[in-house]
Assembly symmetry: D2
Homo-oligomer: 359 residues x 4
């Protein structure tokens, strides 16, 4: 198990889908930062199930309790511990999977690795664990805001329905204007329609989240292994259901020639160093260059479907299984705050690490 | 700086492109493993410049010296230190970039981060650093071979020229049969033709490397943050010029519905648990499931081109710059042994970590 | 801040003296270990305040709640989270120290480091934090017991009152037979008498805890930096009020000549390798050799005394201060379970790490 | 194996006593620090064998080669790699110990842990490894000097011959004035006399090194586990032959009452916060308070003696063994630069870590 992430701004999460609760310790948040439970709760509310008809109807208040690390409204430099108790634990829904290996779930691999597993709702492998990340990410966001850094992400594709333009042509203030968290209203409608159709067919659908970070100063990222995009990539790939990560020109960049792909530097009127294009995605040699950082994260369709499927049980015998319980037909809308959280956690860590770069 | 990778099988690299040399310490290699300088040298020879007309003519013997950690032909459990001295240091080729910020290179970001840089050949940001990774990866490969695990990778795309079939329809024994390291001979010819045309136009071209790992037992990978694919992704993204990573169905998987994407389990005639499809890419919940692991790595076109480009110097003044020195028109053929090395390093680490999973 | 300890069996603690509570996440405990809340509670009860007239009358039930990581009575390999809520928070006792820098406390240094502090009961610097260590140590002890390793410690000195013989001449089953946790009944009486006299003089007194570990197999410890005794030393020195650590012959060993100090090996009747003396304290070259491990830990007298003292406030002005609240006149009896806990945590970690030593 | 030390200023050492050489990578040294090979060589010369008739006559130039990390005389923020080749490898001296388990050496424990060992001169367990620490420590000292922090240590006891006064009554400029590195000339004479007598009796003798650090600002140290004294303690205990560590009042402090031991704060004429006594040894709550830091390190007598000893071989058979080769009768004089190095490494790391304490 490895339940910690970050080197200086470091989180450690715990908890299972149907246990007592989910939580996180943040170790290394600098002292003197104003943090309130409200800030954290607002972030959690974005990830909470049951926000719209596009998501699981599992009802969880996801109320955060701050156990330590704050005094008179500010951080003290000591570990911040956050607890979110589980409420709607419909564990009886899972008796049928106690011995089943659900297709494309982690049942089989957890059994192989640990010899046993908490089968209720996926136990530790449930995406419910990401609530702890979102709570911690809200604290990281506060730290970044102090330095003018803002991370935002949105749903840019659901199945084959994609936003036809890049992030720089969108108004990211519109992300929260619809249930699917796509700032392009027309595309959002088509996405929501696809999700509802998929849900009604008892199926699930995947998609892509695009992340954008603005206000990052040049100099964040720790080569040669902890390059900024390498840490972002690991962070995103650690989220449930993620299958791919690309930044800047990404996979499409392989189709360009060097003469097309290179980002020429220039000095703008204000005397700031900028690049004429940004195929680099704001990162060169693993270090931020002051331009916008942007990246894409691919999510597979949710593995739990309500249609019957053939698979095996833990005796190797063939069985037929149909999903029960309450599940998201599409994870993308609720993935947005999770991508935000992981982005904030990476940047907060890199911000602190960069303080040791020079004498 | 962060120049270490891995938790239990841990490497730390050092060295600059035009300094004394490049090297690595491997800390945590178990005792009792047979390792020879020849094994390491063979891996280095695959990455060495000047192997064909597709790569830089920089002439480096890349001769490895083992400084510690072996006794009577076997590892002792103590750190293994490897040194590769630089030979062909044509540093005078770089006087023109001392004050220039080359487009899409790390000159500007290193200056912003550290306040200074070794500008000769890119200094620490040069891909020459990956020689150390390849040397260490050869030791990791020996460890994995002991347990029947074999990683292979190949060039699956150069520019728009792509292998038309998946890895499972290729004979991976053919990877070394041509200079571009593509096991599909017909596609290889077209790739080599494209690389030569690009070189003659004084341009560069990117592409994709596909990695495949066979023989991995179920149970490797450390959720929730050090998932097997998250570590692989970070490892690949830490390689120079990489812009994206996907595993299993990857970005294309976002276009499938859950009912299409799910991998049904079955028991084969030998009684082994297998899946009928492998969209999961051999990893579920961040843990290997015993099926083949496969992934794709996107490389951008090399930033150094011999055409003149407009950019700025460290005073913010506009300058015109043309690449000098000896450069690869396409990094893909030499990227294959680097992808292999990072794959081996991740798996060796995960193999050792998995020993602590159960009482 | 650094609130984590251990590499593979790794704990992270949180909480302040007068906040919501104290807790810990254990990450890396192998799956399949039987653990109950009772086991943990029993350990906590040994550290709990108010056990006798020798300790602070602060009344804390120190009731542990298991938040995650167990399923059907056994560990699952996922993080184990434990929470102990604070109850008897007499925070009004601390208003007088809000701006005071108490002598030999951490008030001044926390202010210098973090710019602010939770002054109530010492906040994070309070020894109350060690409750989390004791809870985690109880889980580590379960793991060690599975492999036949048993750690015990006892009070060997209070002020100038010392046990006149070595651990091997004592019956360690008597540790719990008296309130001071000294297995030599006659010395225990003198210790308790000294503590009561000291308390009545409104003063405090220090002393020494001796630790003994039996059943450790040869091979634990990770040179050259994480030597077994170096990790034990760090663990002990991280406990509040500890001023020194020695193992085996320790400081007294500096008075012996090599010919007196060396431990000759021999083979006993059962064919086991043993040493005729054990000045090495069971550790050679940083690795356990199978003999008993023993060490000593020096605790200073508690800094809070009820006598008036002259010091300064956070404006640099001279003030007179007298301790209020409920404090231990001697920390030694309650230090015993803390030393046990840290010993168990070090050994559990080293046990898991040793699994990666050989092919 | 764990061959790395430090979190932000991090070293990784390699090499064996009779292999190719000894070396170290420093990762995390800030950019812009002036460092020369001379500075490092000067430190190595203090540790070098053959400096006087008190130490082993093994002849090693211990010439350092800088392999990376410097450019135009200053650090670049990239890893600094240092190599010291072995020269005087009289490996034939060790044929007699190939199968022997020398008393109080690490032969037996390395065999138990790794299944094999490089028996020549102790291999990796040799104190020759500390040359790498001294080289790295010289770089750390440069960083600390930049901030006005100076660490010094000296031999305060050899066998029963001890300096009769505390460090504050000594002129530490006299440390290098004699071969035993004791700044009290009269005591130094008695120490040297004892060492020569011991050598002539073919025996060895231990002793104590006292360390002093001046100029440390308040605020260094990372509670609750990486307390400044806990890291210093681990660092010292990781040095070969060390059996104990104490700081401030140490073990003697257990004999004082709280009213005697507490360090009262006051404001001096210059307005600086100081303490009237310094039983705390400059560290409170694990954080430096701006007063002098001082500590003691106990070294056992060297295990290799030239007298015949009875022990066993790796078949468990009783054998008689006498030391051959060239050995120190007393390790203390050469331990001084090693203690200095580890002190500097701890403080450099804590200095960088403290930069992340506040917003």
């Amino acid at each position: 198990m490895s339940n910690s992430f970050g080197k200086l701004f470091r989180i450690t999460t715990f908890g299972e889908s149907h246990g007592v609760g989910i939580g996180v310790i943040i170790d290394g948040c600098p002292a003197g930062l104003a943090v309130t439970a409200d800030t954290i709760q607002t972030a959690l509310d974005r990830r909470r199930p049951g926000q719209s008809d596009l998501t699981t109807p599992r009802s969880e208040a996801d109320k955060v309790e701050i156990l330590s690390g704050l005094f008179e409204g500010k951080t003290t430099g000591t570990p911040i511990s956050l607890l979110i108790r589980n409420q709607d634990q419909a564990s009886h829904d899972y008796a049928h999977v106690e011995h089943a290996y659900r297709p494309s779930h982690a049942d089989y691999t957890y059994d192989m690795k640990y010899g046993r597993r908490d089968y209720r709702g996926g136990g530790r492998s449930s995406a419910r664990e990401t609530a702890a990340r979102v709570a911690a990410g809200a604290v990281a966001a506060q730290l970044l805001a102090h330095y003018g850094i803002v991370a935002q992400s949105y749903v840019s594709q659901v199945g084959a329905v994609a936003v036809p333009v890049g992030y720089e042509q969108l108004d990211l203030n519109l992300i929260e204007s619809n249930a699917v968290r796509c700032p392009d209203p027309a595309t959002a409608e088509r996405m929501m329609s696809l999700i509802r159709q998929t849900r009604d067919r008892q199926d699930t659908v995947g998609g892509i989240v695009t992340g954008v970070v603005r206000g990052v100063p040049a100099g964040l990222g720790e080569p040669v292994f902890d390059k900024l995009h390498a840490e972002l990539g690991k962070a995103m790939l650690s989220i449930n259901a993620v299958k791919g990560f690309e930044y800047g020109s990404g996979f499409a960049g392989t189709l360009l020639f060097g003469s097309e792909h290179n980002d020429a530097f220039y000095t703008d009127e204000a005397g700031a160093v900028r690049t004429r294009t940004n195929h680099s995605g704001g990162i060169q040699g693993g270090i931020s260059n002051g331009q916008d950082i942007y990246f894409q994260v691919a999510f597979k369709p949710v593995a739990t479907i309500l249609q019957p499927q053939t698979t095996i049980n833990d005796q190797g015998e063939e069985i037929t299984l149909a999903g029960k319980g309450r599940h998201d037909p599409c994870v993308l809308p609720r993935a947005v705050p999770i991508v935000d959280a992981m982005t904030n956690l990476v940047l907060a860590d890199m911000l602190l690490r960069s303080r040791a770069n020079k004498v």
